[in-house]
Amino acid sequence: MSWHELWQALWHQGESINQTIIWELRLPRIIAAMVVGAALGMSGALLQGMLRNGLADPFVLGISAGAGLVAIAMITLGVVQTLVPVGAWIGAIATAILVYTLGYLGGGLSVERLILAGVAISSMFGAIQTTLLLLADDGRIQSALNWLIGSLNGRGWPEVNNVGPYVGISLIAACLLARPLNLLNLGDDLASGLGTSLVRSRLAIGAVASLLAASAVSMAGLIGFVGLVVPHGVRLLVGSDYRWILPCSAIGGAWVLTLADLLSRLGTVELPVGAVTALLGSPLFIWLLYRRGQRG
């Protein structure tokens, strides 16, 4: 397809086969990649800020484990495939609520307790998930693994229409959390001295981040590294003001995942996009760490 034909097809002109390819195959998948990428990038930026921990990613609060457990259970037990995204979403949100409840027990919502609760729940659910996988039929393992690595294969308008609005609203809500994030960055005591309610802001940030991550997971499975690496890269570019970090992380995540998805389709066999992000993300992350070490 030439540039001219592409341009025509975008405006619903020219050959109908080109129009179909653009409007029904390429464009919806690009938009799906952007929605998922933006959700992951924003979620990672929110959680890294709230937990003051550069190792935080959208899945640190147990979201991957919860979504994974429900999804794998559904796949291995042979539940209708179309229900898997909804199940994964519910699993993710339920796990985030569980982790927050554990973090809240004993008063306050301390960063350490949230992280520890997330790690504990993740490893427990992970163990159950592995057991389920080992017991499953071969054919189902294949599709379960595909989901665990994360793939955009076959995603299009239905997913964008179902999940897109939630992601859009959450992205806007997330941008409004820039101020509490900037203050939380100063430490708990100074942040509360400046009029931030620690519990309320951590609840709001966690809720928005979980909604975003759960939406992304329900669309494309567990795509790793985007939510971890993108906020780091953005911070190198725009500094440490969350009024800039948050929107830029969403935009950055959208572009990175779109690019990764494009790369995943270049070869003769389509790779799951999650494998591409991990393959690209790991060296990039090491490079970022190296650069940061040099600066400091």
Binding site: R52, G106, G107, G108, L176, R179, N182, L183, N185, L186, G187, D188, D189, L190, S192, G193, L194, G195, T196, S197, R235, G239, S240, D241, R243
Partner: protein
């Protein structure tokens, strides 16, 4: 130095009444009352773990008391929204997290947050003026575009002080503001606070470990021992050999210098009265 008895209790700007509280279910303070008047400087002294920081945190709404109330200008602070309290009262905690990448001006600008409605993203003219004033008062104008992490200890402490000044508070609480500073920078910071206290009628409570500095700079002292108010009043009433022995387990004498300044000297033997109770941290 003013006599604290001249103050009428009813015109206290900040008043803590019968506070019982601590972290979570743990109780550190047992029934402590305190009042701070407009333009007054009060220092809290006492051994480690005696509840000085807890008292400051209760008075600044960081912690909620189990029993008792804190009144700011006659209104209970724990019944008001946090940002409303933060417009009148600022606290500089003992240890600061140094945010990476923030310049001094960006840091100080965050002090304006309690005054900004949620839809206001940028500083308005008044905010900007307050920020610049705070930077100038703390003599950081030349450093205002430098990242905070590149500053020296004394400069950092001044930058965080500027942040609290940008809050434009009536009451400023400082938890061991001089701890990590050398002698010169300790005096520099306290002189700056003295200027703010005298010229701008800023009411101040400091936690200070150096009793001589506390006596030199503050109008009144409050001495805490294991969560109980041991003594409160003018320095010569509070810093007595008896109180020092009971609170710090040290033998000490207090001397009035020829210029009329009271100082406290550890006895030449410098002996501890008894070994410290290891359960008291």
């Amino acid at each position: 130095m003013e006599d604290y008895q001249e103050y009428n209790l009813s015109d206290a700007l900040l008043e803590a009444q019968n506070l019982v509280g601590g972290y979570g279910k743990q109780t550190i303070l047992q029934n402590v009352s305190l009042s701070l008047h407009k333009g007054e400087w009060l220092s809290l002294v006492g051994a480690n773990g005696s509840g000085k920081s807890t008292l400051l945190k209760l008075c600044s709404r960081i912690l909620t008391p189990q029993i008792g109330t804190v009144l700011l200008d006659g209104k209970a602070i724990h019944q008001q929204p946090a940002n409303v309290v933060a417009r009148q009262l600022a606290i500089l905690p003992q240890q600061q997290t140094i945010p990476s990448g923030l310049t001094v001006r960006q840091l100080v600008s965050l002090g304006r947050t309690p005054h900004q409605p949620w839809w206001q993203w940028e500083l308005n003219a008044e905010d900007r003026q307050m920020v610049e004033t705070a930077i100038a008062q703390t003599q950081l104008t030349a450093l205002s575009d430098r990242p905070v992490e590149q500053l020296s200890g004394g400069e950092r402490q001044r930058a965080f002080l500027a942040l609290t000044l940008a809050q434009n508070p009536q009451v400023l609480l400082l938890d061991e503001p001089t701890t990590f500073l050398d002698l010169h920078h300790q005096l520099e910071l306290l002189e700056l606070l003295k200027t703010l206290n005298q010229e701008h009628q800023l009411s101040i409570i400091t936690v200070l470990h150096d009793i001589n500095l506390a006596m030199r700079y503050s109008d009144r002292l409050a001495m805490l021992k294991q969560g109980v108010m041991k003594a409160i009043g003018r320095s010569d009433d509070v810093i007595t050999p008896k109180n020092l022995r009971q609170v710090f387990d040290v033998e000490a004498v207090t001397v009035i210098t020829p210029v009329g300044l009271q100082i406290c000297l550890l006895s030449p033997s410098h002996t501890l009265v008894k070994s410290r109770d290891p359960t008291v941290t």
